[in-house]
Symmetry: D2
Subunit: 343 residues, 4 copies
């Protein structure tokens, strides 16, 4: 069987493994105060063009969202999110477990818009009983979204404007950030992501690392005492250098971007193959996730040789997901492309 | 400089690294449902002689304590702990952040006793206003303790009895469990640890793994839906196999115990060297942490070549800590022993 | 100005005030252990035909919901509620602040149905990644609903069945319970409410008391240690007898039901007046809240002499709310009826 | 039996009851926006000489502490308190249930001192692993303390200085504030309490009200959005005027202070009676609580006619508590004084 099920089915990019092996007997400070972590932070700050940023390395995405969001909100505040947002749909109420309500807005292609946010916030403050409802304190979006789609620079700017205008934070979940930035349809750079948000994270787990996410804090108000938050949440890794070494490796020579670029290129070849075959795709993903809408028969044929994920229903047909990653081998890809051609 | 500062200064036991490299391109289920995690769980269950146990792999100790304790307690319950216990002293209020008070009892050599627990619980229930105070719901101990000391089998049995008698859970923090079990002064086996507790964890991070703790749940009441707890706390690793592979490696051929045995043997040579020199040691640690009480001059001499941790004051003198681990090299140890001899 | 804005604009039923005055210099135990509280509990248990019930007096509705729901749920569980439910819409995230997500289902006339609940629960458990989402642990409904509507006995039985079948608790918010039971359209008794739920509360604040809600726990699993929950939430009134005296007064001679019956009768006269005038009403409320849909001109006319609440929009027109209560005077009601006639 | 057990055994000062009766049929805004609440706030602000203060009326002391403290602290912060402080000892972990650790310091006569606070805070920040421990964010004291004792102006100023110096809030629990201010040994005024703290509350429940505490916020940083906090905690009373009317009554003509002055005067006569008899008193209370240390025989004699509380052990003897209040009748007091004389 060949797996296209997700982008975390294998271990890590070979450079990362080598580096872990090379550095294994080095002795270093614990809890992320080692030289690899320090250097990795410098590399990231340089790459995003923001020397003033604070960078923290965390293990996983849900953990990162939990800590980042609960650190930013006042107890009575909630976070606006598309209803398909990871925090709204797939984190077992992690945000609520910290006391904060996720205020879900209906998504369009996985996204929410500045006017939606504005309307929600204004309705809240115009209500004579505003204090009987959760105060919106932050906007959460994923980039790319859980559906593989992208916000345009204009859309991001509009969200930035509306959040600034109303005193909300803008936080970007970049679990698959590399795949967004590698997409030809993406019109923002990582520098712009940094300028347009108060916090965002650069996903490692799904982009070639064994594990790890780099949370980048841009807004000064959010920086203070952040390591206390990490420790309290049980997320301060004793051997923090494991994270430092990985991100150091990913941000030397822009390896992070090369890894994701290659994966996106492969994903788009899958997309083309389906399109050529006249098979419709759900949504408009130009990143590493592709969502063809298949008949039962097509599924039966493909699942003989390939593992992929069932995503949902579309009338009689089924939406499925094919993912590529740093680990997708050219050879396996070709087998898939041929299989699609022969559907 | 030679580090004896802690037991997490290096990477991981070489077998673990090799195994990660070997398995890197395997494709597997995410979230700990892979074959390595499954096999590692089987190995552990077999080793502790409890097929009925549930085993969950988590990343770090504070995370494990947070999740285990908050899963077990009712909202108005607290956890009894020695005042030196990790949850009481070094987790930034992680337990309190889940809503539960740590009820600290004065320690003796890092330990609390069954009579202390009994007295606390009885006073609570005898009070006419019991409901105005936190109800004790669990006893937390570390084995070995944060001071490197051990509970005897008799002491553990007494704690088991008193907790059963009063309906409390007994939970054992085994961050350094391997070093306890490897000590010649230890009169319990891991099978007995399992039989005498409701939950305990087998520490990986400080015993040779890159990271990882294996939480073992023995009490049926605590097993239900535990993976929801893990996910909600942001601790369900996408590439869960990283944990599975490590514990598989550690529990093949009893590698875990060999690693810690070697470290303890080295620590006791350090202990002997200090004793021979007539230098008193704080507490009675026969595990991998040794706490000599040094004069300022002795410290000055040793800190030229060695890194070690300041632990506290003892009159005019200072308690410091020397740690050994899987990574302590014989050569470095010898340099230290000579230096002690020449103090 | 004459107020029909809400059912908590005045103080309390005269009998309650007299009783507070009469008993003022009595000396009694604190924290609800006084004889009035004890007697009030007995009266309620007798009235609902359940000697096995536990009754606790609390100050307000949000407080009661917070405590009841957080006492019942496991940390990773959420509570299903109509999206118009008080806990979903008007409690500033009180439930989330205890760590639990409100799982909002689309309402019909303020209600949710057993099939909706079944579908949600089954989808949850059929998902291969159930543990990545919040587990439904309870169904919350209001009776009457926030829209003044009623569940039929059949609908309640169906909800009882589906919750039992799937191991969920059924909790009924009875902030205005008296007005439901007093409605001619209501086909359940308070005894049946008790038999069909795991917990419910009998609202005092909106039904003639100065303040106070009587939480009734039927399910044995929910009874243990409940006073700890109350105290921890800051809701154990020192002078608990204030609550006991009020509920004692309300449940002597069925005063509670007489109070609400009179209010409902007045509300239905308002309803009839609007209907006679050909003015449509929103929803199907046969309790103490009436929601006529008015033109701007009609509103302008009525707001000269009356205070009422704006509820929402209905196309060009506006839904407003008129409430009656124990305090609605016949004289004032007649002025309103005449005004409606002359619209 | 004559009760001297506590200061909340009866209802309320007669003026309060009358006022509730007089205003009963007034129609008013809900949720504390009524004219009585507004006027009561003005009276309090005037009385404490701080027009800039925010005043909020809450139902009980634990509720007030919970909300005030959790509103002020960052998630990883704790609150320093004497180990005898109400939040440390008698609130069922209410503070911990909001996620914050109570950092208990050893008390002297119910009090903590500025040097104790300074030492704790400096040790915290000097630690290289500060972030592994809870950050102190606030100092909580009670005035008078739970032992009836008073801080001198000098002591309060020192606490004010040390908290300002280190960026901590100073919060004063005034559950029995009136009894402190009425004591001849008290050298601070309520105006000074306001100037020396960031927040404090004026206790009503134990000082003549049916229930109710007035939280006064002085520090601007703590004022924003406070009503959201109240609502989320289920503490926004629908008929908020109940609180407004009571505090209006208490702060007209300084009634609050007259009530407590009379009680303290009576308590000191009890104190004198014991002293004259040669019976030692525990601590140095010059407020409404007196703690004689009695033999078993003395207790047996007194408990025939009087109810009082057992407070603790003092060697072979027992510390008990006699409380006076607004409701203590001269006649009953005389019976007690005679009984003491005849011990």
């Amino acid at each position: 069987m060949i797996y296209f099920q997700c982008d975390y089915a294998e271990g890590a990019d070979a450079h990362i493994l080598s580096r872990l092996v090379e550095t294994n007997m080095e002795q270093s400070e614990g809890y992320g105060l080692d030289k690899h972590s320090i250097r990795a932070k410098e590399l990231i700050k340089k790459r995003i063009g923001r020397k003033d940023a604070d960078v923290h390395f965390l293990v996983g995405g849900t953990e990162t969202n939990r800590i980042a969001i609960s650190a930013a909100l006042r107890p009575y505040q909630g976070v606006l999110s598309p209803d398909t947002g990871h925090i709204a749909a797939h984190e077992t109420g992690a945000i609520e477990s910290t006391g904060h309500k996720v205020l879900a807005l209906p998504n369009t292609d996985g996204k929410i818009s500045a006017p939606q946010v504005r309307e929600y916030v204004m309705e809240h403050y115009e209500s004579p009983t505003a204090e009987h409802t959760v105060q919106p304190g932050m906007v959460y979006i994923s980039f790319p979204t859980e559906s593989g789609t992208l916000y345009s620079k204009e859309e991001l700017k509009a969200l930035r404007d509306v959040t600034k205008e109303h005193g909300l934070y803008l936080y970007i979940d970049g679990a698959r950030l590399g795949y967004a930035l590698a997409s030809l349809k993406c019109d923002v750079t990582i520098e712009e992501i940094a300028d347009l948000s108060d916090m965002f994270y650069i996903g490692g787990t799904k982009c070639g690392a064994l594990f790890g996410e780099a949370l980048v804090i841009l807004n000064d108000n959010l920086k203070k005492d952040f390591r206390y938050m990490i420790k309290q949440n049980g997320a301060l890794l004793a051997k923090g250098r494991m994270l430092g070494i990985q991100f150091e490796t990913l941000f030397e020579d822009d390896r992070y971007f090369k890894i994701t670029e290659s994966a996106v290129e492969k994903a788009l070849r899958i997309r083309s193959a389906f399109e050529k075959k006249g098979i419709e795709l759900w949504g408009t993903s130009y990143t590493n996730q592709q969502f063809p809408i298949l008949t039962d028969e097509q599924i039966r044929k493909l699942e003989k040789d390939f593992v992929f994920e069932v995503w949902g229903k579309a009338g009689e047909k089924t939406i499925v997901r094919f993912c590529t990653s740093w680990a997708t081998e050219e050879e396996n890809l070709k087998v898939l492309l041929t299989a699609i051609e022969n559907l």
